[in-house]
């Protein structure tokens, strides 16, 4: 199980790297387009994703006085590829994907960070289990057929965060069976239904299921929030400035009309991102599995 997961990660990253190398030349030749393409985070169905993202796209269009369209990509990998190919100009990325893209695409312009919950300033990855399940991580060793439930492979609170929790407990994640549920809430519900022993997810999502019996066993360090990233070749500095200012200044009423971004926006915390990057790199050097993430540094 563990080897197949690693292989899968490797394959994905290889494809990503080749694609990046191929696409860089294209990026250089692409001129600024009048219409901006926004690729939101793929959380739901294509229609729902687009529907939830359209109000934000419209708001950005209003601010920039440029047309902004929404384009759906199935996963982060496709989003990054599209970005490198110049097919998208503004992307919604989590911190780990930001690092991955940053490795191959210099000059990324973070616009703002997006709150995923009310008054959120940052978030953490947490280790969770049902209230009648494990009370501590190391108890996992005592149960039969333990199973770790994860979100997505490249999710910040996915394999990397879980591995960090396991490492802190003197355990190795790859020694246990783990399963990617695809989304944080699915991880929560599956744990509540006793379909897994322990899981890792974002704290603000875990919080929603605490009333249903989900318990947080351990909290990780603060992570940068999901952010809107722009291609500097497509968005002028003045436009970037304007966009940042106005998105940060949106009223509560206006935010109510938005899907993506309905909880508001905060200034992209570069320091936080740098810290997160250092942490990821350190983690990678300690862990063989994580070191494979260095492949992200391959430049064309």
């Amino acid at each position: 199980m563990k080897s197949s997961f690693v292989t899968k990660i490797q394959q994905n990253i290889q494809i990503l790297a080749i694609s990046l190398g191929f696409s860089m030349g294209i990026v250089a030749s692409v001129e600024a387009q009048e219409t901006l393409v926004f690729a939101p985070l793929p959380k739901e169905s294509e229609v729902a994703t687009i529907t939830r993202s359209l109000p934000l796209a419209n708001e950005m269009a209003r601010i920039l006085d440029r047309k902004v369209t929404v384009k759906y990509y199935k996963n982060y990998h496709e989003i990054i590829q599209a970005y490198l190919a110049g097919a998208v100009d503004i992307v919604q990325l989590g911190p780990l994907n930001y690092i991955a893209l940053h490795k191959v695409a210099a000059g990324l312009q973070p616009i703002v960070s997006i709150r995923a919950a009310k008054n959120q300033q940052s978030y953490r990855c947490v280790l969770v289990a049902p209230l009648d399940g494990l009370a501590q991580l190391d108890e996992i060793k005592q149960i039969a057929a333990p199973k770790v439930l994860l979100t997505q492979p490249l999710s910040t609170c996915g394999w990397m965060a879980a591995e960090a929790f396991f490492a802190d407990a003197g355990l190795t994640l790859s020694d246990y069976a783990y399963q990617s549920e695809g989304a944080h809430d699915r991880v929560a519900l599956a744990l509540l239904r006793n379909e897994g022993s322990i899981g890792c997810m974002a704290d603000f999502i875990a919080e929603r299921f605490q009333g249903l019996g989900l318990e947080v066993l351990k909290e990780g360090p603060l992570n940068p929030m999901f952010a809107l990233i722009s291609n500097p070749k497509k968005l002028l500095p003045t436009e970037l400035q304007k966009l940042q200012t106005q998105l940060l200044g949106l009223s509560a009423e206006k935010l109510q009309t938005l899907g993506v971004g309905k909880f508001g926006f905060v200034v992209f915390d570069q320091q936080q991102m740098t810290q997160f990057t250092d942490r990821v790199e350190k983690l990678a050097t300690k862990n063989e599995q994580l070191s494979e993430l260095q492949l992200l540094d391959v430049t064309p």
Binding site: S45, V47, R52, L131, F209, G211, Q256
Partner: protein, 1035 residues
Amino acid sequence: MIRRELAKPREKFWAVLLIVVLWLLSLLFVSKSFLEQKELYLEKQNSTQKIAWKAVESIHIKGVDAYFFSLKASKAVMDLLLLAQDPQQAKFARLSLYRLLYGNYQTLKQQGLSIFHFQDSQTRSFLRFHKPSRFGDDLSIIRPSLLRVKESLTPLHGFEVGLLQSGFRHIYPIQKNDQFLGTVEFSQPFESLRKEMALLDDSLEYGLIHKKSLLEFKMASNADNIYAESAFSDEWLEEDPLRKLSPSSAIMSSEMRLVGHLAKRDRQVVLGLTSGQSFSQVYFVKGTYKVLNFIAINDVSHENNAYLVSYRLAKDLDRLLRNSLIFALMATIIALVLGFIALSWVSAKRAQQKSLDFLELINETMAQGLYVVNSKGLITEINSAALTFLGLTKQAVLGKRAHDLFHVDRMEPGGSQTDCYLEGLGKSGFSGELQFLNHVQNPCWVRVNSRQLLEGTKNLGNVVMFHDISTERKNAESLRVAATAFETQEGIIITDIEGIILQVNSAFSRLTGYSSEEAVGVKPGVLLHSGMQSKDFYAEMWTVLKAKQSWQGEVRNCRKDGIQYLEWLTVEAVQNEKGEVSQYVGSFSDITERKKAQDEIFNLAFYDPLTQLPNRRLLKERLNHALLMSERLQQCGGLIFIDLDDFKTLNDTKGHSMGDELLVEVARRLQASVREMDTVARLGGDEFVVLLTDLGPIDQDAISTVQVVANHILESFTEGFKLSGGVYRSTPSLGVEMFLGKILSDEEIIMHADMAMYQAKKAGRNRVCFFNPQMQEKIERAQAFEEDMAVTIETGFTQLELYYQAQVDLHSKVQSVEALIRWHHPQKGMVSPVDFIPMIEGNGQILPVGGWILRTACAQLFKWQSNALSQHLTLAVNVSAKQLLNADFVTQLQEIVVSSGINPSGLKIELTESSVVHDIDKAIAVMNAIRGLGIELSMDDFGTGYSSLTYLKRLPLSQLKIDQSFVRDLEHDADSLAIVQTILAMAKTLKLTVVAEGVETLKQKELLELDGCQLFQGYYYSRPVPVEAFDKLLG
């Protein structure tokens, strides 16, 4: 008529309108039927959908009931719910219940019950299987149905809007041992119901719309954009249009959305949605009908909060529409056919009416009078022409008998109904001429045609037509006159415009020999062509005829027997009423004899009958023409006046016939001497004229030419003329006048030539003399004298005076005296007798002047005879031949002698030889008469004339006067002396006294004396002097 004309379009209009109305009614019927069918269809659709909805609703209620009861029967579930009543255990109970029923929920979802929701006894959400993370929220406000269930403890079923999703909700109270534990809700989203309904009829597409006002609370937190304005109304919302909540469900089709947009603008839909009742609406889109069924859905409180909208293609309506359109099309075709038939009928009727109107118009327009009488003879109809003719009104005529009104025979004595031709004999039909009373009540001839009006065998009366033929009668009379005139003495031919003979009269046949049958159909030229006229002649004739419509002229034609004749033909073009030539009428008469006579008259008028030469008249015409041409062409011409020398002698000696022979021969030779173009004319007597023309522009050349011709003429006379009496020689004297242009008149030219001719004679005859200006001057002077003399005569001879010249004896004693006239001209002074005596002798003025001389001389003689000193004088008065031969002369002389009281023996009349010899017999007679009066006679100028003893012996003379020409030459000319001596000897023999005149010298007197002359007269003794001087001379 106008009213009818106006009515015609209306008929057509009403016919068309009727058809259109019928057509519209049929369309209305079709439309109404279609609409009714459509309404029925919609009602049916609506009803069907409502039933379907109810059926699905009922099925689901029963199904959910079964679930609920199985749930309620589960002890574990009930225990957990009971455990949940303890707040401390609620969390655990929720987790346990989630785990326990998660499998059931998956089953329920598969069956369309996507919402499985437990509420606690406080009406708070306890566990949402569809969203487990969300619980604990108070639903009492937004879900009043939960309270109702809690209060009633009875289940509720109904459509309700939920916080997350609307659906058909089934809420059941949960009790255990009378303890209310809460409620459980099963809910089917619309998509689930749609699928159920689709099973009933998959041709329908469904949509669900919610009342916006009920969702405002949700709209405020519609961050996920679950609700959006529906396609059917702004006031109604569509839930999850993009199927976020049920991605597998199909979103609303574009067709349904398109129809929805139509419905949105449809007031019926707006009203229907407001009413809360189910309704259906149909739309015609892209050629087909689409139906929207709005099924009212009530919430658990039985209030309308949503509509189930079903959409389908209304194929039945399409079919119905198709059928209706076919029906409408058929109705239209039928209407068109009916319209066509109606219009045809109307047109036929109009045509019939028009025909009737036209007949009436004809009746009213026709010049013929027409009236209709019924079988009783009463007038039932009459036209305008008849009324106008009769001078009656229609009212005055209708119902009356024509016989009583205007038949003339009614007025005849004893006239009765049976006397009427039309009502009696002519009842079955009459055609003839009768007399009707016209508008001035005068009988007027009319031609009447009466025909019976029969309907089958039934006699309806008579139609009588008549027209005024009085003019025709007059015309017929005129025609009879014309026909009579046609048959005149002149031949008449009538041809068509091609010249084909249509008619000839009998005179034609008589004149040409061709009968009418032979002539008709043939062109006149074919019958009568003589070949004497050229083609150009006929072409000219037709040109004039076509231009002037008339032609006249002489034509030489040929009779049937081949004899030519000359006709005077007049051709007139006859025009028809259009002004086009329709016939030509030629009238002609045979003018052959008349022409002959005319030619003879012409010859007599213009030619000398003896020589056949042009006479003076024709000469003048030709001369005038020559002058005109000379003027025009600047060509010289010449006129030669020819007079035969001594012709009179031939006449006198050989007789006139001989003279005529000579003249004829002279004419021949003259013609032979000139060019053919020249004119040789005879003016009369022995005077001929030759007119020469075209002699060139230069006068000298012309003169030379004339000289040559004149010489030819002279030469032609050198040979003797062979006359019946032998060869006779004659010479001519020729006078020539040249001309260039019309400077002189014809008379002046002839006169000049005549003068020149006299000049030639004076010059010795047999020669040519050209006229010169001196001749002219002389003549003009003579003419002036003549006019002045006329004035003198008219004013009592005041300008005349008698001078007296003495005649003395050997002793120079005046024995006698000669009266000599003198003219004291006012301008010219004393005019010599030599200058005017010949003139007045020529023009006849000598008679009054001679008369005055005699009276004056006699008066003077009486004075002298009354004086002793002069009583012995003899007064000699010269008398000219014209005076002498004047028939009244002797009478006049006698009267003067008597009146003056003189002794006639003292008066002596002096005559010249020429005056006597001209008509010697008559002269002798007159002289004897004078001698009978006692007056002496003296022969003046003796010796210059014939001086023939033969006639001298016959003359009753008493004295001879030796001409002064002999006396003048006595001294030098032996011949003159011999003549004088002879005269003196002859006078002595005849016992006549002799007076020698012109004695101017003594020698002359002596010579004369020696030869026996006893009286002398001349300047040697005395010039002619006035009477006073003479008297002094006597004294």
